[in-house]
C-alpha cells in the first residue's frame, strides 16, 4: 500500500470560489471581533486581536489576494484562527465557512501557473469534488514569517488607507 494521505479540510468561501485548509491547522472559528489596527501595516492586515491571551494578527485573505478589495466587516464576517507550523496564532478573514471535506492529498491537481492573484507557491493544489473545484491553500507558505515581515509593512499611503477607513 502506498502512503495515501487522507486529510480533512475545512472549506470556506472567498468571493465565489471555495478554498480549503487542513483542519489540523484550525484552532477556532469566530465572528469578526473588535480589531486594533497596527499603524504601519498594509491594508490586508486588519490589526490585532486578543485570541486566548495571545496577541494575534488578523489577515483578510480577500484583500490579500485581491478577491475583494472593498470588503465589509459585520457580525456575519468570519475569522478562522489558525496555528502555523512555527506555532504562531493568526486569524484569517473569509466570506463564509462552508463544510468539511475528506481529501487525499496525493490526488490533487497541480495549480496552473497562469499569473492568478494567488501565486502557485501559496497553493497545495486543486481538488475536484463532483463538479466543484476546491483550491487548497498552503497556509504555512502564505503566513510564512519572513514573508509576513516583508509584505505586511506597507508604504505610508496603504497604511493610511487602513487607519483612515
Amino acid at each position: 500500500m502506498s502512503t495515501t494521505q487522507i486529510n480533512q479540510l475545512l472549506t470556506f468561501k472567498l468571493g465565489n470560489e471555495t478554498y480549503g485548509i487542513e483542519i489540523n491547522k484550525v484552532r477556532e472559528i469566530l465572528t469578526y471581533p473588535v480589531v486594533t489596527p497596527i499603524p504601519d501595516a498594509s491594508c490586508w492586515v486588519k490589526g490585532v486581536i486578543n485570541l486566548r491571551g495571545e496577541v494575534a494578527p488578523i489577515i483578510d485573505l480577500r484583500v490579500r489576494f485581491n478577491i475583494n478589495t472593498q470588503p465589509v466587516y459585520n457580525e456575519r464576517t468570519i475569522v478562522i484562527a489558525v496555528r502555523t507550523q512555527d506555532a504562531r496564532m493568526i486569524g484569517l478573514v473569509v466570506d463564509e465557512v462552508s463544510d468539511m471535506e475528506n481529501v487525499d492529498l496525493d490526488k490533487l491537481y497541480p495549480a496552473p501557473d497562469m499569473g492568478a492573484s494567488i501565486a502557485p507557491k501559496y497553493l497545495k493544489g486543486l481538488f475536484k469534488k463532483e463538479e466543484k473545484m476546491i483550491v487548497i491553500l498552503d497556509i504555512d507558505k502564505i503566513l510564512d514569517k519572513e514573508e509576513m515581515q516583508r509584505l505586511s509593512r506597507h508604504p505610508q499611503e496603504a497604511a493610511s488607507h487602513v487607519l483612515a477607513a
Binding site: V34, I38, P39, D40, N50, G53, I90, L163
Partner: protein, 696 residues
Amino acid sequence: MAVFDINKYRQMFLEEAEDIFEIIDNILLEAEDAGDMDNETINSLFRSVHTLKGNSASVELSKFAALAHELEFFMDKLRNGKLLFEESMASLLIDGVDTLKHILELELSDELEHDYFMTIKEELLYKLDNFSQDIKEIELLNEEFSVEESKVIEVEKEDEFLVKEIEEVSAFGMLFPRESNAYGPMNGGIMDLGEDEGFGFFDELELLDDEGFGFFHELESVDNKEFDEGFGFFDDTEIINDEGFGFFDELELVDDEGFGFFDEPSNIEYKKVQAPLREAKKEIEVKDNEAKDGKKFKVDNASNSIRVDLSKIDALMNNIGELVIAHSMLTQYTFMMQDQKIKSELSERLDLLDRYIRELQESVMGVRMIPMETVFSKFPKVIRDTAKKLNKKIDFRHYGDSVEIDKAMIEGLTDPLTHIVRNAMDHGIESIDRRKAVGKNETGTLIMSAEQANGQMIIKIQDDGGGINLARVTEKAIQNGILDESQAAQMSKDDKAMLIFAPGLSTAEAVTDISGRGVGMDVVMSNIKKLGGVVKVETEEGMGSTFTIVLPLTLAILDGLNIRVGEEHFILPLSAIIETLKPEEDMIKQIGDEESEVLMLRNEFIPVVRLHTTFNITPENHKLSDGLLIVVRSGAKKIALFVDEFMNQQQFVVKPLDKNFRNAQGIGGATVRGDGTIGLIIDTMNITQNTTRRAS
C-alpha cells in the same frame, strides 16, 4: 513507550549545579577572607560537592563526577580532621571548583578530550596531594587520637551526656555488638534524634527521589532499626554527625562509591564523632525549641522550594488574564439585565469573584519574584577574580538582599551589572599604590544596594575610586564626533558623565581583557532599556562614582496612561512621562517647515512629535494648542507627543506583538484591555528613531 531523555535531566542538573556552584564559591570566598573554616561550613561544602558528584553521575557526566569525587575526597579529609584548613587551601579549592566548571562545560558540549581531562585531573590531584603530604603529621596525630577513647572523653568534658554517648557510640563502633543490651541504650538515644529529624529524612528523601536516587529501602531499614552490622553504626553516627544530611551522604558513599569509612575501618575516629556530637546536641536543642513552637526545622533552604519553568508561570498569568476578561464581560452583561433583584445579587457575587481573581493574580506575581540576593551572590566571585587579575584590593558589600525582583528581569540584569562592576574595578578603583598616594585606604570599596521605591526598583553600584575623568570623556566624545565643542561647553557635569554610555567610547589607555574596548557601557544602557529601565551615573573626581539603575518592578505589568489620538487609543508607559501640558500658542516654535515644531518649555526646546502623523491617523485637532502635549523621555532626550486626550491611568499586562506577528514602528508591545480588545503600547524610544530618520 517514553524514551529516556538524558538531556532533560541534564538540564535539571545544570540549573541545580549553577546554584550549588554559587553556594560553594561563596563559602570558599568567605573562608578565604576569614582564613578559617568551621566544621559546619566544611560540612556544607562537602555536602555541596557531594551532591554535585552524585547528581552528575546520575546524568552520565562521568568525568565531571570523577573530578568532583577528587575534590570531595579532599574535603572529606578536611571534614574529618585529617587535614587542617589552611588559608591557601581556599584559593586552591576555588581554582579546583573553577576547573570543575570548566570540565562541566566541555563535557556537556561533548568537547572533552580524554587526554586533556587526564592532564587537568593530574594537575588538580597533584596540587591537592601537596596539601595532604604537608599535613601528614597531623594525620598521624589524629590516628593516635582516634584509638584512645579516654582522650576523647577528656576533651569532651563539658557535657556528660555527650561523653556518655560517645562512650556508647564508640563502644558500639569498636565492638560491633549485636546483642540487644549493648545496642539498646545507644539505639534509644539515637532514636530520639532520628525521630526529631523524621521530616528531615523525608525532605531529603524527596529530593533524592526526584533525582533518581533510590534510598527508600535504606531509609526504611533505619526507621525500623534493622541494621545490618556495619550499617547500623555508621548510619546512626552519621545522623548525629551530619545533622541529618549526613545520613544520606554517608549512605550514598557507602552505596555507590564504597569509599570512606568502610574502606578504612582503622580510621574510625572518635574525634570525628565527638565534634559533630556537640553540634548534634545543639541541633537537638534547636529542634526541641522549634518543636515547641510547632515549627518545621529548616533542613536546607532548597528543600522547601521547587523549580518551575518560567513559561509555566507565564501560562498561568495568561490564564488569569483570560479570567479577568471573562469576568469583565460578565460584569458588562449584568448591566443589561432587567430584573433588579437578580442583577444586584449577581453583581455582589461578581465582586467577590473579582477579589479572588485579584488575589490569585497577586500570588502568581509573587511566584515570579525572587530576592535580589540571587543577583548579588554571583558577584563575590567575579570581584575576587577581577581583583586578582588587576592586583587591587576590593571590599565588596551588598545591601537589600531581601528586596524582590521579577525573575524574568534577572537574566537581563546580570550582564549589565557585571559590566558596571568590572568597569568600576578596572577604571574606577585605583591601584593600591595610587590609593596610598592620595591618602585613601588601600582597599577599595564597592557597594551594591537594592531598594524599592515608588513602585520602582532602584539598584545602585557605588565605588570609592577616582571617579570619571569628565574632561577626558568629553574630549574623547568630541574626537569621536559624538558632539561638538559648543555642545560640550553647554553640558552639565551629569550630562558629561552620561557620555560614557555612548557607543565606542573608552577612556582607558590600555585595553585590558577586563574592559577598555569601548564596547560595553552602551550595551549596558541598551540592556537596561530593554528591561524598561534607565541608568544614571553620578561622579565626583577623586571620590568615586555611583551608577543608579531604575527598573520597573516587573516586566509583565506596566503602569500606563491611556491616550486618545484621533479615533485610536494607545497606552503610554507612565515611567516615560515627565510632564503633561496644554500648550499656549506662543510656546510652539517652528524650525523651517511645519514638520519641525518645537515646544519652548522653560529653558528647553523640545521637539514635538505628532502621533497622528507617526501612526497615520486622521487627527481631531490640527493646532497644537487645541490638543495636549506629553513630554516624555526618549533615551537621553526629551520629546513632546501631541495627543487629543488623556484618558485613565491603568495597569497593563504586557504581551509581545512579535510572537505571532512582528514589531511595529513606535509600538513596544500590546496588552489586553478590560473589554477584551488589544491596546498598543507606545515605545517612546522607537518613535524618536522614526522622526530622526525622517528628519535626516
